[in-house]
């Protein structure tokens, strides 16, 4: 079953630290159980968002890369 995001955060054209800052701000505004889709083309985005999720104890549902764009689903679990 594919997870469906509850909201999307477009970080295309933004570089570290913007994507993780905006991801954090978005997560703060979400309810537990909701899924955030982050779109980013910063090559550091995958490593950074995974580290952020690990640090904040949130769940990475999936990471997909289409050409230069990452589509990362993060679930708010706490």
């Amino acid at each position: 079953m594919k997870a469906k995001p509850d909201r999307t955060l477009d970080c295309l054209g933004l570089y570290c630290p913007e994507p993780i800052y905006r991801t954090r701000m978005e997560l703060d505004n979400m309810k537990i159980g909701e899924i955030l889709e982050v779109l980013a083309d910063d090559p550091a985005a995958e490593a950074d968002i995974k580290s952020l999720a690990k640090r904040l104890e949130q769940e990475i549902v999936s990471v997909r890369k289409d050409e230069n764009t990452y589509r990362i689903l993060v679930k708010k679990v706490k």
Binding site: G13, Y15, P17, E18, S51, L52, R55, L56
Partner: protein, 133 residues
């Protein structure tokens, strides 16, 4: 994380503030201790005037232009962001203030405390990450 911000140039301040703002985003308590050239940047208007050191001065205009094109947050944007997290404390080095004739009234409002090396070392001894930039 505890950082001694010794440098006052754009490149090194960005280093310190990107690390600091990322740390606060990751819920890490962050302490920035400004001394020497970094201390001067805490004066109102200082961060906006930060430039590159002499060796790279020829690249300054292009770098600032590129940062604008990238929609990159300014140094002060990053500092305010850290403050808004509630996890940042900024310290100003008192002998440096005396050396450069800087009064606390001249500082940006985000400065928390005037402190010395002892206070910094006490904080750094409990930090997981300590850096000098």
């Amino acid at each position: 994380m505890a950082i001694i911000v010794h440098s006052g140039t754009l490149d090194r301040l960005y280093c310190a503030f990107i690390l600091g703002s990322t740390a606060t985003t990751m819920d890490m308590e962050t302490h920035l201790y400004f001394t020497f050239w970094g201390l001067n940047m805490l004066v109102k208007g200082g961060l906006e005037k930060a430039g590159l050191p002499a060796t790279y001065k020829h690249m300054e205009e292009q770098m600032k232009k590129k940062l604008k094109e990238m929609n990159y947050p300014t140094l002060y944007d990053l500092l305010k962001r850290m403050k808004a997290s509630g996890l940042l404390k900024i310290y100003a080095c008192s002998p440096t203030m005396e050396m450069f004739g800087v009064k606390k009234e001249a500082f940006i409002p985000e400065v928390d405390e005037i402190a010395g090396a002892t206070a910094f070392l006490d904080i750094a001894s409990d930090a997981d990450i300590t850096l000098l930039i």
